[in-house]
């Protein structure tokens, strides 16, 4: 007992609004709750279970197979196409790799045969200006490192001061794409305004891997929120949150069958 109740003015309470991260969590939760309340008000829902009629499951873990046609690998599944699928599917028409993404979290910015770029929703309430690029290349022309360097070179056209992140906070451990081990790199820089005025610290986290004849790179851009809002969570939290939104894509990624 006792130690629990530090006396003599010890607050000794759980760290409620302690760190900036905690404060962000609270702000985030408040925003989420407000959003949910608004949705609840506008969309009456029965209090009972949200389970659909049998035999469909009640809760849906969003683990999609590749278009219901590949499957297998990451899920140890049968690949029979009867996997439960949640999310919006996208398949590279050039290379055949595929994945699902949460259409509520991402809008399509650019859709090419070898590349899909998603960006945070344009809804100002989302208050994010992040994007992710999933791109493929032949492994005969690009190793993972070469694909990363190519992406960095492209980014440097708009972010001239782009450089490897010298800190370790954002290190990516266990870099994998679709259960294929890869490599990762993190870069930081500053986005310039049209007149060349630095306006927004920006971070790029890139994971790349090769499997068979295909090399894939997934690049996530996260912006310092201070550049897009007068208030909000600490930048480190923001970057990590935004980056984490891409983990389901890494996890879900399906390499083409026979690759």
């Amino acid at each position: 007992m006792a130690r629990a109740d530090p006396q003599g003015g010890f607050a000794a309470q759980p760290r409620r609004s302690g760190s900036p991260l905690v404060r962000f969590a609270i702000i985030f939760v408040v925003i989420l709750v407000i959003t949910l309340v608004i949705v609840a008000v506008l969309t009456p829902s029965p209090p009972a279970s949200s389970c659909p009629p049998a035999p469909a499951p009640c809760g849906v873990p969003p683990k999609p197979p590749g278009n219901g046609t590949t499957g297998g690998g990451a899920n140890q599944g049968t690949g029979s196409g009867d996997e439960l699928v949640v999310g919006t599917a996208w398949t590279s028409s050039e290379f055949g790799f595929s994945f699902h993404y949460d259409a509520d979290a991402w809008d399509v910015q650019q859709d090419e045969k070898d590349l899909l770029q998603l960006k945070s929703p344009s809804d100002p309430a989302a208050d994010r200006e992040d994007w992710v690029i999933v791109e493929g290349a032949s492994s005969t022309s690009d190793t993972p490192d070469q694909l990363i360097q190519a992406r960095v070179a492209s980014l440097q056209q708009s972010v001239p001061d782009l450089a490897p992140d010298s800190g370790s906070y954002y290190d990516v451990k266990g870099a994998e794409i679709g259960d294929v081990q890869g490599i990762a790199a993190v870069y930081v820089g500053t986005l310039d305004d049209t007149d060349g005025t630095p306006v927004a610290p920006v971070r790029y986290s890139i994971v790349a891997a090769t499997h068979g004849g295909l090399t894939v790179a997934i690049t996530v851009r996260t912006l310092d929120p201070d550049a897009i809002a007068d208030h909000g969570p600490p930048a480190i939290t923001w970057h990590m949150l935004s980056r984490q939104l891409v983990d389901p894509i890494l996890e879900d990624f399906r390499w083409p069958a026979g690759n």
Binding site: M1, R3, F10, A11, A184, S205, Q244, D247
Partner: protein, 554 residues
Amino acid sequence: MAGRQLARGAALLVGGLLGAAILQSSGAPAPAGAAGPTVTERAADPAEAIVFEADLVMPGADRIAAAAAAIANPGSPAYRQYLSAAAFGAQFGLPLAAIRRAASWFGGHGFTLVNAPANRSYLELEGSVGQLQSTFGVGIADRTDAAGDAWHVAIGSPSVPAALRPFVRALSGLDTSPAGRPQPRFGPPNGLHPADLAKAYGVDSLRAQGLDGSGQSVAVVSFDTFDARDISTFDQATGISGPAVQTVRLPGAAKKPGDGETEVSLDLETIRAIAPKAQIYDYEAPQSANWSDVINRIVEDGKVQIVSISWGRCEPYAEPAAGDPDDVALASAEMAGLSIFVSSGDNGAYDCLDEPDGLARDFTVAADYPAVSPHVIAVGGTYLSLHKDGSYLGEVAWQDPLGQAGSGGGLSTVFSKPSWQVGPGVANNHSNGERQVPDVAGPGDPASGMFVISDGEDEVVGGTSAATPFWAGSMVLAQQLAAKDGAGKLGFLDPVLYALAAAHQDGSLFHDVTAGANLLYPATTGWDYATGWGSPRLDALVPAIVAYVQAHPH
């Protein structure tokens, strides 16, 4: 003794959005490279009351590990000869007369005896800062961090007077560093409902045999509290019913839900999802409590045989020690026949990631305490995939490389590998004779997290925090079947799980997870550091456990 100042960072994850670390500042020494928060310090008021522990000499301490192994060994005469806390104390602790002498000594020096656990591992005492200074030569300082959180720490090392040394080996509890806290992450809107878990893991067929937790009990350890209305709402939303959760509040426990509310709701509702008719006791302790406070209470109450703990802290910061009062409490629980399921942590193989407050990360390869204790069953996390009809499709080890999260697992630096921890995969290139975790796994990836009601809201909650009550609830069903079949007490289940897993490598009892990783260690055939033996096929595992117990009577 900073090791006992748990500061348990709950292994909670909710859904998939919020990622980062929240944690804790600590009076405990931080590993190199850790950046602490801004902390102010001042000398404590001499009149300020401090509660601390006098760790008692345990003459039989060297025999505890062997005795625990004997209780788990079917070939030993002591097999399944469980010990109550009092019997444990009598066997390994000081004579009661000696403990009374120690207590009298403290009383004579103005200290108040607060508690004396039956396992005779320590005396809990209260005295003023001034008394501590004059009696033991140790000062107390108050610290406050930038967030306003306050705690106290010892200045200097307390010196145990010669007259006490035959009875007291150390003083502890003088450092009340703020505890860690849950890390809520909010994600997909659906989550796994009880019906999904039942179908995916074989609970359905157990339910058809009448196994729903009726007549059974289970404890949850919480460093926060919950709103009973959430449990009712969960019941209504999922179509289940059961006895109201009973709360056992330790002194100083939170009276209103705080940051850990979602963790508590998750634990209670997940057990309810698997074993809805079981009586759940929520043992609620203050964040500054020691593990021994709550574990000893559970053992002494004797109400349950299965316990779920979804809180923990990385081992290098928790600084546990073999034979310290927390370790003794957990050993005592094991030897009393309790199965304590503990979450293995949510930062993959890098369990200390969240420890530094603010701008730093600690990438030390480390495991989580108390999950890493050999006296508990450590539970890792997976991502669960389902067929369209809701049946089990597969699992991979949970890891989120960009979010720096995943199933906790690795090697202890303190505790040795228990004798029963053997089987395919256990001896591997990383093995060094130390305890390896996790032992088993369950759904933990927030992307396949649990449907939970907390603070009146629907949430999807993941993390090894979710996998742990899933396992605890599942073993309540085994306990019920054992009672039904007259098999008696199940006892500490980890040795049984290892024996069964090793003997059934055909996948008939466990879903052996062989894909994914935990940011470092890959899931492999057999046991691995990401998922242990994997997740349960409960329709087969539950009867197999009972059959094993029946086949190995004492």
